[in-house]
């Protein structure tokens, strides 16, 4: 094979590694993790990335080496055909299978934390996805849903910091996906199902809430905001929103944002 093409094949692993080395510093990497459990997800991500990265580089280098060494124009040896090696086939079947079994067992704790070990706290809010917005409901002062004092907001999820947050996820129409990138939470919303979602946020601030399931033509605009705030600020916000919802007179000063 032409030397030029060999070097081009060599450029694939070189540029691939270079891109991954460059991306984090340039800001193209995982969003800031503010969750308690997120490190496990990130750890699994890095683990799988390293593993697949190493295999990727090794196979690409082998490809380059074979192409370079057995150049058809310089290699005058006649071609030899073989029906393969039973031992090698056993090896390359067992090695990936063992690796996959290992990953399946290795990730069990992370899976359980995110999907099985539901915290024993009351539901903070019910999030209903619909084309193309997030309708959010808090139980209000009496702590119960489906009563007159439920607090209704749209696209504006507030949660207290450093607490176990439990949310019920619903969908009004089609499949959506409730995605909090900074909390490493992604859960499909399925019509007809009430799905619990939980997390614990460590930092206050405003973060993205986006839909991660192509749900129709307006999918791109299905964006909400997650506000993590101190428990007292959260309670105050909730009380103010609840009071505004009971208005029988126009508020004195129009709210401005």
């Amino acid at each position: 094979m032409n030397k030029f093409w060999c070097l081009l094949f060599l450029a694939v692993p070189v540029l691939g590694v270079a891109a991954f080395a460059w991306a984090p510093g340039a800001g193209y990497w995982l969003p800031r993790d503010i969750s308690d459990h997120g490190w496990q997800i990130d750890h699994l991500f890095y683990f799988v990335l390293t593993l697949t990265g190493a295999v990727f580089v090794a196979t690409e280098l082998a490809l380059f080496w074979f192409a370079w060494k057995y150049d058809g124009r310089t290699n005058m040896q006649p071609v030899r055909f073989t029906h393969g090696s039973h031992d090698v086939e056993v090896l390359w079947t067992l090695a990936p299978a063992a690796t996959l079994v290992f990953i399946a067992i290795y990730q069990m704790n992370a899976w359980a934390d995110v999907k099985m070990r539901q915290p024993d706290v009351p539901v903070l809010a019910e999030v209903t996805a619909r084309q193309f917005e997030w309708r959010i409901r808090y139980p209000g002062a009496d702590g119960r849903f489906d009563t007159l004092d439920d607090v209704h907001v749209v696209n504006d999820l507030h949660v207290p910091v450093d607490r176990d947050i439990l949310i019920t996820l619903k969908s009004q129409d089609v499949l959506h996906s409730f995605f909090l990138p900074n909390l490493r939470i992604k859960q499909d919303a399925v019509p007809g199902m009430k799905i619990p979602v939980w997390f614990r946020a460590r930092d206050v601030g405003e973060f993205d809430l986006v839909c991660a399931e192509l749900c129709g033509w307006g999918h791109y605009k299905m964006k909400g905001r997650l506000t993590v705030q101190s428990a007292s600020a959260f309670q105050q916000w909730l009380a103010e929103t609840a009071a505004a919802q009971e208005a029988t007179q126009e508020p004195e000063v129009e709210e401005s944002e």
Binding site: E133, N155, W217, Q245, S256
Partner: protein, 466 residues
């Protein structure tokens, strides 16, 4: 001639119907071609549906030359001859047939040419007053802010990264349409249809029945969305962008209202429109005034429900329960007559066929084959199911009060408060009670199951159940 006559007439009639079916599309093309140039830059299209509906004959063919005018006149003359009993006169008519045909055709064509010319004038006037979707323009007399409108208008792509433009086409156009006609490409899939701004009728607002919404009202709709419809919330757009969109909605609405006023003047009053600044401003003034004075018509309740003022929790609960009970009686009673549409259980399941204003005229039986060409077929209105706890115009008691007090403009919901020439049907105190009752409905502790009537009827038909 006589034996083939019936057949020929049937053929002509059939052709007429076919012609009608093709009319709407053709008219849109005509409208586009009338005043506009190429296809590259989008143009506002003339509101031909409403213009045709406003004209006395309601005949789309009045506005286009079909190539069949001569045949129409010929048929008319034949009909005249057929009706004539006097043989002498018939002879006379026959001798004159050629000349009469020429003269009649010329007259029909002249009328149509006049109408088409007027359409062009109408379009020119509108472009002069409002510009085009890419290059909007407003007279200072409109009271609109051109800076905001420019931010919302134009193509959605940002060519020059320093200039933000095209918000309307980015967020709204696929439902509300480039002309604000509520007939964008996604509109047909929605129930209810997106609002047609050109009518100047808005449902969810704080002002009196037929008054325009305030800027705050439109901003509220944009920010909170309209639950129960396809209108989503745009809460996360920066305030200046939402305000720009509000201004653009007003701009499209004003343009539509002026268009209809001018069309009435041209085709109903059959006047000529002079393309001078003063004339144009005259047409603009009425719509501009209704928008700028909207804030003066905000409905502010003078009283509050008694239980709101009470401080003792037990007293509060007792007063609320009393108010709900009073509301229940009013809801079912003759005076408020809520049950007529919303049903005795509040499920909104009355048997009446109800329509919004923009659907009322669209009776398919009245329009025949033409109805098949409508972009948005007629849509029936469902009275609100009050047990879902979904309130389109806002869930605050104040919002519900205003809905009941003013009624819903554009829809069949009447107001219970006073309006020009009509006494109030309910006092403020009574309205507050109905509000309390309605707010209690979703939580009444009963499961809102629709009556199984339909199911059993269908089962009986199929005979599978007793």
């Amino acid at each position: 001639m006589c034996p083939s006559d019936a057949g020929e007439r049937r053929r002509v009639a059939l052709e007429g119907r076919r012609r009608r079916a093709a009319t709407c599309c053709a008219l849109l093309w005509l409208a586009a071609a009338a005043g506009c140039g190429g296809l590259s830059a989008p143009q506002f299209r003339l509101n031909m549906e409403d213009i045709i509906r406003e004209t006395p004959d309601k005949d789309p063919d009045e506005f286009r030359i079909t190539g069949r005018e001569r045949e129409q006149v010929r048929q008319g003359l034949l009909e005249e001859m057929r009706r004539e009993k006097d043989p002498q006169k018939i002879e006379q008519l026959e001798a004159n047939f050629g000349a009469a045909l020429d003269a009649g055709t010329e007259e029909v064509l002249k009328l149509k040419r006049d109408k088409i010319k007027k359409l062009k004038i109408l379009n020119t006037a509108l472009v002069a007053l409002f510009g085009t979707p890419d290059e909007p323009y407003v007279f200072p007399e409109s009271g609109l802010d051109i800076k905001k409108i420019r931010l919302a208008a134009g193509p959605a792509q940002t060519v020059n990264s320093n200039v933000r433009r095209g918000l309307y086409r980015q967020h709204c156009v696929h439902c509300h349409g480039i002309s604000g006609d509520g007939a964008g490409p996604t509109a047909v899939f929605l129930n209810p249809y997106p609002r047609d701004y050109r009518q100047g009728k808005f449902k969810f607002k704080s002002t009196e029945f037929a008054a325009k919404p305030t800027d705050a009202d439109l901003l509220h709709t944009l920010t909170e969305g309209i639950p129960g419809t396809a209108m989503p919330s745009f809460k996360l757009l920066p305030l200046d962008e939402r305000e720009a969109l509000v201004e653009y909605v007003k701009y499209l609405s004003m343009r539509g209202e002026v268009e209809l006023a001018m069309a009435r003047y041209l085709f109903v009053d059959e006047e000529d429109l002079e393309l001078s600044r003063s004339t144009l401003v005259e047409f603009l003034a009425e719509s501009a005034e209704s928008w700028s004075s909207a804030a003066e018509h905000v409905v502010r309740p003078q009283t509050q429900p008694a239980h709101v003022a009470a401080t003792d929790p037990a007293e509060k609960a007792r007063l609320l329960a009393e108010s709900i009970e009073r509301g229940r009686k009013l809801f079912a009673g003759e005076k408020a007559a809520c049950v007529k549409c919303h049903g005795p259980t509040g499920l909104g399941d009355s048997e009446d066929k109800l329509y919004d204003d923009w659907n009322k005229d669209k009776d398919p039986e009245k329009f025949g084959a033409e109805a098949a060409t409508w972009v948005l077929p007629r849509q029936q209105l469902r009275p609100r199911n009050l047990r879902l706890g979904i309130y389109r115009g806002g869930r605050r008691p104040l919002d519900l009060f205003r809905r009941i007090y003013t009624g819903i403009y554009g829809g069949p919901m009447p107001g219970a408060g006073p309006s020009p020439g009509r006494e109030a049907t309910l006092s403020e105190e009574e309205i507050w009670s109905v509000v309390d009752y309605i707010r209690s409905l979703p939580y009444e502790g009963q499961v809102a199951v629709p009556p199984p009537r339909q199911l059993t009827q269908r089962s009986r038909q199929s005979g599978s159940l007793p």
